[in-house]
Amino acid sequence: MAAAIIRLLWLESIPLWWDEFVTLGRAKFALPDIWSSLSFQGPSDVALDSSPPLLHMILHMVLAAGGASETWVKLPSVVFGVLTVPALYALGSRLYGGRSGFFASALLAFSLYHVHYSREVRPYSLYLLFGVSSLWLLSRALGVNRTRDWVLFALAATAALYSSYLAGGSLIAQGLFLAGLAASRNMPRGRILPAALSLSGVLLAYLPWLPGHIFQMKLIYAPSSGMGLTGEFLWRALGEFTAGSTLFLACAGLGVLTGFRRNATGTVLMVCWLLLPAAMPLALHTAIAVNPRYLINFVPGLALLAGVCLDGLVEILSVKLPSRAAAFLGLVAVMGLSWPSLASLPDYYRRDRHSVRDDLLDIARDAANADTVAFFRNRHLKVFTRWYLPGVFKDLSRSGDLRYRRVLLLCNADFVPPGLGQPERHGDLAAYRLGLLNVSPLTASGTYRADFSTMSFYREAAFWDNAGPDLFQKSLSLYDPERPGRAVWRFVAPKEGFPDIVRLHCRLRLSHGPVSTPPDAKVSIVAGGSKESLSVLRTVTQADFTGDDLVMDLDIPRPGGTELAVGFFLDPGTIYGAIEPVSLALEFPGVSPVPAVTPEKLQQRVDLRTWVPGRTPAGHTPCYAFEPFAPALADFRSRYPKLAPVAELPGLLVFDPALADPWFDAPGGELAVSGKVGGLLVKGPMAGQIVTLGEAAVPLPLDAPPGSTLALSPGGQARLWTTLDYSGGPGTPFAQFNISQVPGQPCLTCANEDSCFMTYALISQAPVRAVRVSFTPEAYGEPGHEKFVRLSISTDGAHYRILESLTAKDSELWEGRHRHIAWIRLERPSERVYLRFELSDQRARLWSGPEYPLRIDAWLDPAVRMPLDLAAQPFTPRSDGKPVRGYLSPAPLPELDHLLAPH
């Protein structure tokens, strides 16, 4: 029970990390594909996953049964971790007696290291379950020599092998132990054959995976590198396994002696099981550095040995005590040994930091009318976005009907795509807002060039399915790398028709792993009179490459009709490695072009309107087309001086003002709203103003700090979120006293060595139901003095309750500076909520800014009716108080609360 509770608490609070997505990335495949994909590291969103397929197959079924929530996918690991505890009890009881098993299982239940790996979507807890079970079943089989036990042992050992490559060392240890027993004639003759049969059965059962195993080992093999296992590393790892408890380690050491005295054979088995996997990193030459988790056998192993030691000590100390009292005494000792782990649990549960999940939440909240999301590479960010924002955005994986799309291009902050200006920053991510208006078919004139370093592909290609540019690799890559993809361009014939031969140049790149097994990916270059009648001009495979690049020149025979379609068919193959087009060029010499796309065609893809000077579009906003020297263009340019056109065609420029600024001002200029309203977002200082939108008056129901955004749904539900930034000082909170900014830092402290505080108020006609505050405090542990940062809440202004705090004392170090989250649901919704940050003095700090965002979220009861249809248009938005900015969402505002870390 304790093991289950400890492993389940706040399971959803820490977001998944990349390695867990690696596991899930393969688990989502169909079952046969999981096998083939993992055995050859076949194409996947996620790269290397050096694990056999058992966990992936289990997770596949879990995903099919439940869905994609973080808690749900972590549950199998929790179950395996919890089951390992009774498995260790069984092993301990078998080898050293019931009380030893009880103490050992209690030590494992409280082990922080084991708790951690029981909460990760990685195979370690599954491996330990089968590893410990196989030891128990082996010892039982040796003892009772029943066929059933030998079969169960073989099954458990096979399952361990299919869980993790670490099981190889464990199985060798068990095999050597059995061989040693047989050689030293300590094994009765009747057991030799079943043991040999069991081990053979295990090896036979593993044979199907052997090619995959060999492939994986080759992939990581590096003859000149060792794994770096040193004595110092081993000592540090042992410290991690025991949460730094030297007493625990000493007990485990004594446990070896006690164990030898009680059951020498069993102890030899245990020691082999511990030491042989530990010796393997010494023998292996791989590019992977050793990690404590590769020695994870020590976690249950040390618990078992320490359990034996405790049992021995209890036996000595409690000669005259009844057995229950002795067991209780031992349990107290277990708690003592586990104390460092138990004491770390509160911090462990609350450990939290800024993650991609937070950035994606910000992006979704600020997306306004961007309806599609794209990625600079269709890899990590795509995986995160699919997981955290399912259904919030469309993607660019298919061309569909080529309708105009407002796109947020998401990049890592350190990647700058050319020509897209300044991005919107959301934590570690940068978002570029762009409009993609497809202008295919293209005019066959001169030389057409396509490279894949920009987003032009989406404007020019006529058709694509599961293919798009990888801006980082500058190549045409698969959107989902395990599926085939296509990309086709269309060209309209000039007046005199196409020339006899259209020359095509393209460059392709081969990427492959260090393994000799060649990738079986291929690319076909296709052409034809239309995208429906394409024939293969040439298929390129790995065999065509002499280096990493291949330049090809092909002649396309004169197409019969008025159109030429050219494209690439990409086949990902099944083995690690890819072939991707890097550039495409087509020469149409000596022809007189005809315009290929007309405003009428464009009108089918985008809502094109006539610009009315002085009117701001809002809601489901259209684009505007201008002739190059039209007077209206000058007016438009003066309104949006820096806005680039989304399409430049002969005699036609198309602009999308929503890309410049999807928000309108209230009070502001005349507003044109199209369609129904799904929600209203309001930004700016809120103090109960009434915003008038045509005939609809929307009273803002609250006073909120600057930096707040209020989201109103037609049903009246309201959400408020505020991001505070102290890089320019404390701003204007409701109240502040003795506060000052740390020079040059986005953080606040006290102005002197006396305390200070700052209070934020949410005063709302729509009662506040819940509040969540995410903040980053820091305090210096001064000898003899407590330094603190405290967050308190009050709903009556008089009585404050501490929600969350950081206190430092005596450490002589700056402590904290990691995220704290306080989330309170009010039993009685309140029209007043005060949030007060208290700081002890200038040795206490409260951080903000992109790296340490300080956020306040509030949930409000319905109080305001939002109009669904703003019929009276155009109109001039008004505010009877301070000016605000607004955004009218044509679609319902997305529900994003599941992205808030729930501490």
Binding site: F734, D796, Y800
Partner: protein, 187 residues
């Protein structure tokens, strides 16, 4: 809200406001420039208006009006905007819940603004509120500081002055040596 600390209100804070009689014949409003300049006193870099208002007849008239406003909170009076006395009077209304919701945090915010502008009654109230943690974090140092400010001027009614001195003396006994050092108090 559930489980909020049961912070005992200052004995007499709420009643004190309404019991204090309006002074006839106002004191000279000396504000607290001397206190501001006293190097032994804690610095107050967080204050935006240390000595915004000064002295005299106008001040005493305003004080009287402010106190009247406290007593006649049922019909709030529109006063000259943003004078310390206005702020104090408004703070009193929030503190006592007369015509507005009971709200010690609102009151403390107004008292802070008024006290920083030199309003002695507000300084006294702040001293009490800091010392008991009513609407403000409980902090003996800042409690003593504001009571000392209130006492050091001559704008406090006699009854309030007596109470302020008593509270100040009581607080002095609770101050740690370090707090005394920071307040510039020699033992």
């Amino acid at each position: 809200m559930d489980n909020i600390h049961d912070t005992t209100p200052a004995s007499g804070v709420l009643s004190q406001v309404s019991r204090e009689p309006a002074r006839s014949g106002g004191p000279g409003w000396s504000c607290f420039p001397a206190a501001c300049e006293d190097p032994k006193r804690p610095s107050h870099a967080g204050f935006s208006h240390p000595c915004a208002f000064s002295a005299g007849l106008a001040g005493s008239v305003l004080l009287a009006v402010a106190l009247l406003a406290c007593l006649s909170a049922a019909r709030p009076t529109v006063l000259l905007a943003a004078t310390p006395a206005d702020l104090f009077a408004k703070g009193c209304r929030y503190l006592t819940g007369q015509g507005v919701p009971h709200d010690a945090t609102q009151a403390s915010r107004l008292f802070l603004e008024a006290a920083q502008a030199g309003e002695p009654q507000a300084q006294y109230q702040l001293g009490v509120m800091f010392s008991v943690g009513l609407g403000l974090p409980k902090d003996n140092l800042w409690g003593y500081f504001w009571l000392d400010r209130a006492c050091s001027g001559s704008g406090l009614p006699e009854d309030a002055l007596r109470l302020a001195r008593a509270r100040k003396d009581a607080l002095l006994r609770e101050l740690t040596p370090d707090q005394k050092r920071r307040l510039g108090i020699r033992e």
